[in-house]
Symmetry: C2
Subunit: 93 residues, 2 copies
DNA sequence: CAAATATATAGACGACCGTCGATGTATATG
DNA sequence: CATATACATCGACGGTCGTCTATATATTTG
């Protein structure tokens, strides 16, 4: 298991997540693979990390796996960021 | 140079940043060292990474180096998070 | 200048990570 | 059942990372 920060820390994974998050509807793995110069197993590996970090979710239909950004994961990340925000900021704002 | 996500991806570094961000005033390295079971060079290394990621800033006074959370770094991180937030969320909210 | 303290840098080492090709698993089609 | 397609898992390999000890670089004090 890996933290959301760690998951987004890898450039390839950040780009993959960006692609998924930018979609209006879930995107299938084959389409993700087409967007990068990375092997299908590598993409699959990165998707697993993003999944375990709670950043994306999967739904299978037939042979395809559709990935979508997980709103809860992003919200949790933003909350943990706000916890990190120094008190001086809240006091000033 | 390392991204802010990557910088906060390491557990030790996240804890160090938490400590610094929780202080009402800049904290010196020796005090940071006292809070962890890590060698002084290791702490120094992590501080350098946080610095390069734009998350903390240093100010030297005499022999001491005082570290503080960099508001701009956190703000930038929050902005990049908002960019990642799927459109469905903004539409729904 | 010598000694002590605070911090940074250098170099090394083991562990972890990203990547790949090969293979496994499941679903659809003929 | 045989074949094709989509995706996941396995095993390996090179590079990166976190950690340490040793050392360098100030700065203060006597």
């Amino acid at each position: 298991m890996v933290s959301a920060f760690r998951a987004l820390g890898d450039p390839a994974r950040l780009e993959i997540f960006r692609l998924i998050a930018a979609q209006p509807a879930p995107i299938c793995v084959c389409d993700v693979v087409d967007h990068f110069h990375l092997s299908q197993p590598t993409i699959s590996h990165h998707l697993k990390v993003l999944r375990q970090a709670g950043l994306v979710s999967v739904s299978r239909r037939g042979v395809w796996a559709y990935y979508a950004a997980n709103p809860h994961g992003l919200a949790a990340l933003q909350e943990s960021l706000e916890e990190l925000t120094p008190l001086r900021l809240s006091a000033a704002g």
